[in-house]
């Protein structure tokens, strides 16, 4: 059987999974219950943690990290200076957009790993042409 292709996971996918108020919650609950190989970056983890800290409290934020730790299909990639430089190229290319560094890093990762789909609800993640899973579902 062919291996399902790897998907890039953006912060919005994790929040849609965690927040049962979110419109996309049922979709991401279904997707994460039977995921292919997933990748993300420490910047996404930091954003998600920050969202829980701001929206809820440190305990929920810690729970979020613990749940991610147990998410074995999700690889959290090491990023270094070269990756930051590559992400900055995207920042400059799309300087007319309010791209966060986490978004730009995601665009760089998807390009370098040739990811065919992005698990996100954030339209900015479509900038390089990689389709969002919400458009496919």
């Amino acid at each position: 059987m062919a291996r399902r292709s790897e998907a890039y996971v953006d912060t919005s996918a994790l929040i849609a999974l965690a927040d049962r108020s979110d419109t996309f919650h049922p979709l991401f609950r279904r997707l994460f219950s039977n995921p292919p190989a997933l990748v993300t970056t420490p910047l996404v983890v930091a954003e998600g943690h920050g969202w829980f800290l701001r929206r809820f409290d440190r305990y929920k934020a810690l729970q979020f990290l613990a749940r991610l730790e147990s998410m074995t299909p999700l690889a959290i990639l090491d990023i270094g200076r070269k990756d930051v430089s590559s992400a900055m190229i995207f920042q400059r290319r799309f300087s007319d957009q309010d791209l966060t560094l986490a978004d730009a890093m995601g665009l760089h990762v998807m390009e370098s790993r040739r990811n065919q789909v992005c698990w996100s609800t954030d339209r900015d993640m479509r900038l390089t042409g990689v389709p969002l899973i919400i458009d496919r579902a």
């Binding site: 919005s12 996918a13 729970q63």
Partner: protein
């Protein structure tokens, strides 16, 4: 069923008893329900405990992350 003993503080015991009475269930059933909400339904997918962990009340929560994390522009 496996019988086990747990130690609770007086406050925890009283609060749990009150909640059980409010729900019309036994203390044991309340503790079983609490445990079920903490443990993953499928032990092979523990990350699914993240699913529905919170309820912000915002249907667009996943699309307004930047506003929450980085703040809105003045």
């Amino acid at each position: 069923m496996i019988r086990t003993q747990v130690s609770l503080t007086e406050e925890e015991y009283e609060a749990a008893k009150q909640e059980a009475a409010r729900l019309g269930i036994s203390l044991a059933e309340l503790l079983r329900r609490s445990l079920r909400s903490l443990l993953p339904a499928d032990p092979s997918k523990p990350w699914m405990l993240l699913a529905g962990m919170v309820e912000s009340g915002d249907p667009c929560a996943s699309q307004t992350i930047d506003d929450v994390v980085y703040g809105q522009k003045e």
